[in-house]
Symmetry: C3
Subunit: 317 residues, 3 copies
């Protein structure tokens, strides 16, 4: 997997997963993102890095929010952006996804941002395309969402400066979460010594045995002395008919409340990938507290996506 | 309300309603719009006033036409434009509108153009956001549609030059019309001495008692010697099951026909905010007559929206 | 028809059909497209020909693929692009198509790219608009799809260099195909001496008697010694309940298979306007073979559309 992502000169060629991304490479992305953060504070926020390039947002799963972050990042780099929500167009006419991609490449697309319900589809597409075309995985089933993982790690770096002394708790349905997977791989590579997964046992992953992860079924224990609390979004649609049938029950056991902050470190930060279900996985007074860095994550997400797109196209400043 | 719209230096900070906007401020917007009209006639119609700024069209009610006018105005100012029709995305995932707005601000949105079915929602959002973010109300329920009110007043200025000697008739369902409300407040502030409301009594507003408005239930009387006839769009969907059940009946009593022009001034102009129901509230031979300035309204609307966006961002030429 | 398309100085004013377009004019478009192809290979693919111009994609029939080609072409020319899929907006509010167009012109639209299910609608609109507004027919019922016809002819020129010694076979439902009609008129004007139509007799056109076309109901005969095979897309939706009820039967008789290439010239090229129904009108091993120029068509299509838009606006380099 990691080989497919990297070009011969060690740069990223595609971004499919945070798994196997080297620590140096991640820090290189962070450095570039940092420079774009400064751009974001200027009067004119646009830079010409991707002028004349075409970024194609190819979403086989509806997500206005995520698409918008990539759209804004690409436009700030002066790219031309094409948004394609595929449901009713080519796919409904029976064309294969590879034909769709080949056509868009022939039209001149340089970068594809792909969201697809099927795990591994962005990788399949990356294998299919030629050398001058770059794939960003914007979420594939429960597999990976690498820009989210990177922006979350970048957020931690911005607030905590270093990784090698941190305790980080990830709370929720880790098993079905591409966000959690991408976070765990990024933080693990960056050297976080204490990564804790908190949630009901049915929500714990079974495929990450090689990593040193601590598992907690109790919030108070799991959050004890942590520096960072990363909440996951509860997929309500997934809860229906599942083993944990009711919002209230889940919320009571694993929803983040003010009282939980008492067991964590005093300067712990609270993260959430959004959109939040207030009152379900996170209480409003926590989400809006001073310790919450949830909106900072969004701002950093634009900078991270600008950095990734620039590096894919070979512009490292 | 007016305080929320104005910054300390007397400039507009948000545009939520024409009510309470000062006469000088409106003329300032008109002057800027005039300069953009000239730009619109040049070979290259774009200017760099909003380069590097992001305008977010946040429409909670479908209106391709209105959104397009803001999109064109913003692009002509060189802004990056994000279109969000909210139905199926964040809102359907249960996120609050404030969270949606906060996220888009964190992504770097500078101006929000908001249409919402609920009166007052753009004001609530304006109260919520920080100093560097600006809200334009693009229609909130039956409350206000200030850019429409301003462009209509600007159209009158272009054709009649002054306001203090005019008779203006507004015809239709005033009660439920945000367009009419915004027109009435703008024209009243600009000094139109004779504003007439024409329509069935059930369609007359009950909340504008403080203004000096003449009410007519008869077209011939209402249009006698007027300089300007402003027709409103009939909301067919609203007519169903209402007190005036049939198109024909309403059209017979309050549809604008050629014969009505005989009672108005010879050089009266005819206006309509569009889209028109030809044969219902306006006959085709009137809509397409020389006295019709309906398409000029559209052109002026782009200039007015460019002027408002520029002023919000602090660019007054 | 041809008069409506041409301005007094012999330039194109609208592009409604390939029928009646002069040979010189087509070659002028090809020359300009050729220069844009070179631009497409540069680091920065954009040129400022349409800076400050607004291109409005007005699609009354859903086609993400075709719209995207025009969107990319327009953006590469630095135009502002407005995408309007009309279903639910103005049309549903009962506004006429002419009112919609007039409004968009008043907003400053310079070029309309129009797809409409009704044959002749783009021509009606071209008759309606003023001198500074230009219409491109992007497909009107079974009438015409002129940019597709031109890009197909351009593709042949790129691979075969000249037209006056070619045998070209068009295979499929010619009768209902706007693509086929536009191809036939373009190739006929360009001097292709041998144009063959291949398909069941029910799919042969009845309105092209003035042209010298050979008709074949048998693939082996129709493809004998041809230089170019142009496959048409089978409209599955049109097949239902038609005289040729089953995919398999049609595919067996008229689907392009490897064996058919044996009867054609050795260097025959294979074309398809996309999206393909692999295994129906074309086998995958043929579509992906070295002789297939299907993706080249897509690349050339961007260049042709850039050329047409530039010429409409009076920029011929």
């Amino acid at each position: 997997m990691s080989k497919l992502q990297l070009s011969n000169d060690g740069n990223i060629k595609h971004l499919l997963t945070t798994e196997g991304l080297g620590r140096d490479l991640i820090h290189k992305i962070f450095d570039l993102a940092e420079s774009f953060l400064n751009v974001g504070n200027r009067e004119i926020k646009n830079v010409p890095f991707l002028r004349g390039k075409t970024v194609c947002n190819l979403f086989f799963e509806n997500s206005t929010r995520t698409r918008t972050t990539f759209e804004i990042a690409a436009k700030r780099l002066s790219a031309d952006v094409i948004n394609l929500d595929i449901d009713s167009s080519s796919q409904s006419k029976g064309e294969s996804i590879f034909d769709t991609v080949d056509n868009l490449i022939s039209m001149g697309s340089d970068i594809f941002v792909i969201r697809h319900p099927e795990p591994g589809m962005p990788e399949l597409i990356a294998k299919h395309v030629g050398d001058n075309v770059h794939i960003i995985n914007a979420g594939d089933g429960n597999h990976a969402h690498p820009t989210q993982g990177l922006l979350d790690a970048f957020t931690i770096k911005k607030f905590k400066d270093r990784f090698d002394n941190l305790s980080v708790a990830i709370v929720g349905d880790i098993k079905h979460s591409r966000v959690a997977r991408s976070e765990i791989h990024a933080l693990s590579t960056l050297g976080v010594p204490d990564i804790r997964l908190v949630g009901p046992s049915e929500f714990m992953p079974t495929d990450m045995g090689q990593l040193d992860l601590a598992i907690f079924e109790n919030m108070e224990n799991g959050l004890k002395n942590v520096d960072v609390i990363m909440m996951l979004r509860i997929q309500k649609e997934r809860m229906i008919g599942s083993i944990i049938p009711e919002d209230e029950k889940y919320s009571e056991r694993f929803g983040l409340r003010k009282k939980h902050l008492l067991v964590a470190k005093k300067d712990t930060i609270i993260m959430h990938p959004g959109p939040m279900n207030r009152g379900v996985e996170i209480d409003s007074d926590v989400a809006d507290s001073k310790q919450s860095v949830i909106l900072a994550q969004v701002t950093f997400g634009i900078a991270i996506r600008m950095a990734v797109m620039s590096m894919l196209i070979g512009k490292n400043i």
